[in-house]
Symmetry: C2
Subunit: 417 residues, 2 copies
C-alpha cells in the first residue's frame, strides 16, 4: 500500500510549529509496512489543499491529513475532503453525543457543533482528548483518506487506538524496524565499521546521526511481525558486534531508559550534583516512570556556596582549582554519594556558555565524575572545534554522565573501545 | 517571491526523525516575506526527488532542499539538482580547502572529498560546523535552488549566515510576525475574546495552541521591516489588552525567558524544591544564559527523607498529609527559600504518573507553592478529564510554577483574570 501525508496548517509553513504529527504518522505507517512516498505541508487554504489531495490520490492508495479539523473558520480540511470525495457532511450522532458530554453544562457554539459533522459514509474515530473526531473516508477505486486532528495530544491516542487497528485490517506486509543506538562514536566511523553490512535489500541497515548521537536502523519486511523480526535479528546482532560497547540499546528511547531500569532491577541508587547542566540530568532520570525508587536526591548547585554547604566541597579546593575543575567534579560526585547514602554519585561542572569561558577553561569544557564506594571515575568533555550552543553542550554533558554510569553498571571500560 | 521546501531523507518518511529543518527554513522565509506555499518530504530516492524538484520549480521561484549532501552513497541531492539544472558538478576550490582544514592530518576518503564538488555556476555556502557545504544554484527564468545540509547544527548557522543575506538581496517585501504568548487560557476562550480582531488581511491575527500553551500570531507585510512592525503594532496591543494578564510576552521563547531576566534585572534570587517535576523546573530556569546570577540552588527531593533532611519538611507533616499535599508544597517552598537564602522559594509535589495515583490523589494532581518573605501562594493543578501523560503533566506543572512567579514579579493576581 502506498501512502502520503498532507499536513494542513499555515503555522507549519510559517515555521511557528514543528511538524511532529508527520513523524508520528510516518512511524506507524512504517511499522505497518505501508510505503510512505511523500509528505506534504500546505497552509489553511482550501484551494491548495484540494490540489494536493487530488494529486496525492492519483499516486497513492491512502492519504492521511493532519490538522484543520477544529472549530474555527480556518479549519477547512473536512469540507475540502468532503468535496473531493463527493460525500456531503452530515451530523454524526455518536460524535455529537461525545461533544455534548465534553461540554457538559457549558454552552456549545455553532462552530463547536460543526465538529460533529463528518463526510457521509466515513468511519468515525473518537477523539479521546479533545473535541474534533477524526475519520476514514472511502473513495472510488478502493482509495481512502484519513483525517486526523492537528494537536499531537489528540492525534497520538487516535493514531494508536483507531487508525492502526483500521489499517491493520487492510495491509498484508509488516516492517520490523530496529534502532541500534550508540553513544561515543561518530557517524563516519560507524559507517566505516559496518560498511559491508549496509548493502542488502531486505533486511537493510543504514546509519543516522541526530542530536549528538548516532544510530543504525535495521529494517526487514515480511508477511507478519514475527517473520520480519526474525529476518532482521541476525543483522541487528552483526551491527551490535561490529560497533562494540558504544551500543547502549536497541529500540530504546535514550541512555536514561537503559540506566534507570537497570538501577531499579538491581536495587541500586543514585544521587546527582549538577552545576552547568542545571537539573537536566535529574530531569532525564525522572523522565523514566519509577525513577523515585532509585533517585532520592538531585542537587543543582550553581553557586559555589551551595557546593560547599550542600556537598561539602572544600572552599579551599574551589579557590585553588576553580569550580570548573576535575577535582571539584570528583568532590561533588563523591560527596553527593556519601552524604545522601546512594550507591552512586554523579558530579558535573563545566562551562555551558555562551559566556563565562576563559583561555584555560573555554566554553564547552565539562568535567563529569561518577563515584561509587571504591573509586571515582572522571570523564572530560572538551569543546568541539566549533561551539554548538548552550543546549547542545548541556545535553551532551548529561549524556556523558549517563554513559559513564551505564559503563559502570554493565562492567564496561570507562571509555569506548 | 514564491518558495517551496523539499526535505530529503528516508528517515523522515519512516518517522525516525522529526523535520525541524523545515520549520527553521520556513521561519526565515516568513521573516523575509517569501511566501512558502508547500513543503514536501521525499526519501533518499533520486527519481522521486527529481520529480518533486521539477514540479516545485514549475510553481515556484525558489526551492530550498534540506538533507542529502553528506558523504554517503545515500546522499543524492547535489547530483539530482545538478541534473535538473544541467550544471555538472565541479570541484570547488574553497570548499576543498575547508574540507582539508577540517580533516587536518586525518585521512580523507574519496566519498568525503565528493563533498567539495558543487554544481557549476553556483554560489557556495560554507559549512561552519560540518563537512558538506551548501549552495545556491541559478536556473533558467531567474529561478533558484538552494541546497542545505540536513543536520540542524549545520543547517542553522548556514541559514543565518549565508542564506538569509543571499535572499535579502532578492526580495522586496518583509513580513513582521509577533507571537503573543499566553499561559492560563484555552484556545477556544481566547479565540472568542479576540474574534472581531481576526478578520483583517494585513495585519492578520490568528490563534494557535501548542504544548499546553495558546498563542496569537499577528503578522503584517510591508516594504521594509520597520513599516511592517508599525503596521502590526496596534493589533498586537489590541490583542494584549483583550487577553489581559494571561499574556506573558511577545516574541519570547517561554515563561522562563520572561521570569529569569526579570529576576536578574532586579537582583532577586530563587531556590527550587521539586518532587514530581524532577529537575525540569531547574532545567528550564538554567536554559537561560546568566541564570547562575539568580539561581544558586535547586533541589530534587523525590524521597521523603530528602524532603526532611534537605528542606526540613516535618516528618509528622509528611505522615499526616502525605508527600502530595498543599501543606508539603508550602513547606517545601518556604523552607527552600529560608534555608538557602533566596528571595523566592518554589515547591512542587504531585503525581506525574502513569502510576502512583489514588482516588484522593489521582495522577495529574500537582501542588505548586511560591514563597517570599511575606507569604506563600499555592496553585493546585488538577487532573484534566483525560490523562495526557507524564511528560505533559511535568511540563505543565513547571509552567504553572513559572507563571506563579511571573505573577508575583509583575504584581499580578495569583490567578488569571
Amino acid at each position: 500500500m502506498k501512502a502520503e501525508i498532507i499536513s494542513v496548517g499555515t503555522e507549519l509553513l510559517l515555521g511557528h510549529t514543528v511538524n511532529t504529527d508527520a513523524a508520528h504518522v510516518a512511524r506507524e505507517l512504517s511499522a505497518l509496512g505501508v510505503d510512505l512516498l511523500h509528505a506534504h505541508t500546505v497552509g489553511d487554504n482550501a484551494g491548495r489543499l484540494e490540489a494536493a489531495l487530488r494529486e496525492a490520490l492519483e499516486r497513492s492508495d491512502l492519504v492521511i491529513t493532519t490538522g484543520g479539523l477544529g472549530p474555527t473558520d480556518d479549519d477547512l480540511t473536512k469540507e475540502t475532503v468532503a468535496r473531493v470525495a463527493a460525500a456531503p457532511l452530515v451530523e454524526h450522532a455518536d460524535s455529537l453525543r461525545r461533544l455534548k458530554e465534553y461540554f457538559g453544562t457549558r454552552p456549545m457554539s455553532a462552530n463547536q457543533r460543526k465538529q460533529a459533522f463528518l463526510p457521509r459514509g466515513c468511519v468515525a474515530f473518537p477523539n479521546a482528548v479533545g473535541t474534533a473526531p477524526g475519520c476514514a473516508v472511502p473513495l472510488a477505486k478502493g482509495k481512502t483518506v484519513i483525517l486526523l486532528p492537528g494537536p499531537p495530544s489528540e492525534l497520538l491516542p487516535m493514531l494508536r487506538d483507531s487508525v492502526v487497528p483500521f489499517l491493520q485490517q487492510r495491509t498484508n506486509e509488516v516492517i520490523a524496524s530496529f534502532m541500534v543506538r550508540t553513544f561515543g562514536i561518530g557517524e563516519g566511523a560507524a559507517a566505516e565499521r559496518i560498511a559491508d553490512l549496509t548493502g542488502g535489500a531486505n533486511p537493510t541497515a543504514a546509519t543516522y546521526a541526530t542530536g549528538g548521537e548516532m544510530f543504525v536502523r535495521v529494517t526487514a519486511k515480511a508477511k507478519d511481525a514475527a517473520s520480519a523480526a526474525s529476518l532482521a535479528a541476525p543483522l541487528v546482532e552483526a551491527v551490535r558486534r561490529r560497533l562494540g560497547d558504544v551500543v547502549y540499546g536497541v529500540n530504546v528511547t535514550g541512555l536514561e531508559s537503559v540506566v534507570v531500569p537497570e538501577l531499579i532491577r538491581r536495587g541500586l541508587s543514585l544521587a546527582t550534583a549538577e552545576s552547568c547542566t542545571g537539573g537536566l540530568l535529574a530531569k532525564r532520570i525522572t523522565d523514566q516512570p519509577g525513577a523515585s525508587a532509585v533517585f532520592g536526591v538531585g542537587l543543582v548547585t550553581y553557586a559555589n556556596a551551595a557546593k560547599t554547604r550542600l556537598l561539602g566541597v572544600p572552599e579551599d579546593l574551589l579557590r585553588a582549582q576553580g569550580a570548573v575543575s576535575p577535582e571539584v567534579a570528583r568532590s561533588m560526585a563523591a560527596n553527593v554519594r556519601a552524604r545522601y547514602n546512594s550507591t552512586f554519585g554523579i558530579g558535573i561542572t563545566g562551562v555551558a556558555g555562551p559566556d563565562g569561558g576563559t583561555p584555560e577553561k573555554p566554553v564547552g569544557l565539562v568535567y563529569i565524575a561518577l563515584s561509587d564506594e571504591k573509586e571515582t571515575r572522571l570523564r572530560v568533555m572538551r569543546p568541539q572545534g566549533r561551539y554548538l550552543g548552550r543546549e547542545w553542550t548541556r545535553s551532551r554533558a548529561a549524556s556523558h554522565a549517563l554513559d559513564l554510569l551505564r559503563r559502570r553498571l554493565f562492567g564496561l571500560p570507562s571509555e569506548p573501545d
